[in-house]
């Protein structure tokens, strides 16, 4: 052991901040340097979580406490690992590296017409309305009356809600300015959310479903096929399914609101093709029925009954996917970095010395913010065991040398104070307009604000 333990964490989303917290707490001498390719910490808490759910962004304030409470913690934003610094560079300065880079890629449907204008990944749409700098220049045509969201998870409901809430409801939030303007001009009156299987199989959570009832939306439910679907069991998952089916029954029984914007939850339908001459015009779908999948599960089977839905915008929300990280092994089928309990393993399942993974990049893109806490704690426990067992490589560059290297390679890096300047700038900008914040979406402007030049 060569104390004190020095760890680099790559990625400042939930997995990164839970890992940092846990390390600093469990090894009171340890030092943590946290890197992110963006100048702003938080990962999907900033760029995924919906603007109308901004209370959840408060978990980013964890950094505040870390940075305030500990001189052993440092944040380095605007540094992409694999580009400005390599894995080898990090291991010269630290005993270990924890990768918590999330799952920034998207899954495709694999159907004809998927690349027509008007067909997009929900990942891009979400990043756009949340002001992620990589997506700020994109545009989405909201001039049609109906949009279709393919997928049955919370992201699908987030996207559908955002399309329907309207300018007045979104104005006070931290939705990106460019998106707020687009939503103000949107002509979308109806969003159809399409699920392959039945209501009992959907991955929406109960709070998201319950919330739909609070927005003066005309919520319609089609082909829920909930009859006979009541799950056995009394655990939290079974309870959630029972509650969801009940909520859907309530929506189905509600009187229609003919003047309100409409949200249609249509189950048991799979997309076959996106059709249009120069852009999306219709979505061809096939009706499914549920059959036993053999392992006690129910799977969708086509009935052959085909229909079309007219729409000008199709967003696929069928999952995120991890992207390979330079210098690390990658399991392309699962979109994760192969690991055992967080220890990155290469060929022959042998651990790579000093290399760890946490969060979505470790487990795949599922689970809520808090799910990453236990996940990161497991990784940290492995790392501390390896440190105690002298199984970590010994860094040959000391702390001063590390800071020199950073200054040399990453002149535009944004430290914690730099981020606080961005944060303050965004909040002040919002105050003038009665908005929560006005996000900066241009990297150059962000670094300028962070360094006090603007």
């Amino acid at each position: 052991m060569s104390a004190p333990l020095r760890v680099a964490i790559v990625g400042s989303g939930p997995a990164g901040f839970y890992a940092a917290n846990d390390l600093l707490k469990r090894d009171p001498a340890s030092r943590v340097e946290l890197f992110d390719r963006l100048p702003t910490p938080g990962g999907l808490v900033r760029s995924g979580v919906s603007p109308d759910h901004a209370a959840r962004r408060e978990v980013i304030a964890t950094y505040e406490r870390l940075a305030m409470a500990s001189h052993r913690f440092r944040f380095h934003g605007n540094i992409e690992i694999g580009r400005q610094l390599t894995h080898e560079d990090l291991l010269r300065c630290h005993h270990a590296v924890i990768y918590a880079c999330g799952s920034a890629g998207d899954r495709r449907l694999g159907i004809p017409g998927e690349d027509l204008p008007g067909s997009h990944a929900a990942t891009s749409f979400v990043s756009w309305y949340n002001g992620h700098p990589d997506f700020a220049a994109q545009s989405f045509d909201l001039s049609c009356e109906r949009a279709i969201v393919i997928g049955n998870g919370n992201v699908a409901l987030d996207v559908a809600r955002m399309l329907l809430l309207g300018h007045d409801r979104l104005h006070p939030t931290d939705v990106a300015d460019h998106a707020l303007r687009a939503f103000a001009e949107s002509r979308i009156r109806e969003v159809v959310v399409l699920g392959r299987r039945g209501a009992a199989q959907c991955a929406f959570t109960t709070p998201e479903l319950l919330e739909l009832g609070h927005h003066d939306l005309d919520v319609r439910v089609e082909h829920a096929a909930s009859a006979g679907a009541k799950p056995a069991g009394r655990d939290a998952r079974a309870y959630a399914v029972q509650l969801k089916l009940r909520l859907l029954d309530e929506y189905a029984a509600r009187a229609a609101l003919p003047d309100a914007r409409r949200l249609v939850l249509r189950f048991l339908n799979s997309p076959l093709a996106i059709v249009g001459r120069d852009r999306v015009e219709t979505l061809r779908v096939v009706r499914n029925r549920l059959v036993s999948g053999g392992r006690g599960d129910l799977v969708a089977e086509s009935t052959g009954e085909i229909s079309e839905i007219t729409a000008g915008l199709v967003l696929r929300a069928v999952g995120y996917r991890g992207l390979p990280v330079v210098g690390l092994p990658f399991d392309a089928a699962r979109g994760i970095v192969p690991n055992v309990g967080g220890r990155i393993v290469g060929e022959n399942r042998r651990p790579m010395r000093g290399a760890y993974v946490a969060g979505w990049l470790k487990r795949g893109p599922s689970g809520v913010i808090g799910t990453n806490k236990g996940c990161s704690q497991e990784t940290v426990a492995c790392l501390l065991q390896d440190f105690a067992g002298d199984r970590l490589p010994i860094p040959d560059i000391d702390d001063q040398g590390t800071q020199r290297l950073l200054t040399e390679r990453c002149p535009d890096r944004v430290d914690y104070l730099g981020w606080k300047k961005i944060d303050r700038h965004e909040r002040l900008g919002g105050m003038d307009q009665q908005r929560l914040r006005v996000k900066l979406v241009d990297l150059q402007r962000m670094t300028a604000v962070a360094s006090g030049r603007f």
Binding site: R56, A61, T205, P207, A240, I369
Partner: protein, 88 residues
């Protein structure tokens, strides 16, 4: 009188760590935790000490008395899950 967890919950279990009467479930150590949409407070056991509300990073826990109308349903949801859990 009891405290109630609402839909903002992000399942980080911070409330579980501070509750003096262990009335919040499923805990991260319980098997149902990963499949839970949120955590729930058992109103029969809660002593309304406010510790969970202070610990919650996202303001998801509220005193039942201060629930706004659109969140009232969470009172029943917390109670219903807690009953179901105890019956099993």
């Amino acid at each position: 009188m009891s405290y109630v967890i609402t839909g903002t919950c992000v399942n980080d279990g911070a409330c579980v760590d501070v509750c003096p009467v262990d009335c919040i479930h499923p805990t991260p150590a319980e098997p149902g935790f990963l499949g839970a949409d949120m955590l729930y407070i058992d109103p029969d056991v809660c002593v309304s000490c406010n510790a969970c509300a202070e610990a919650c990073p996202v303001g998801a826990v509220m005193d039942e008395k201060s629930l706004p109308p659109e969140l009232l349903r969470y009172r029943d949801i917390n109670a219903e899950f807690s009953r179901l859990r105890k019956d099993s």
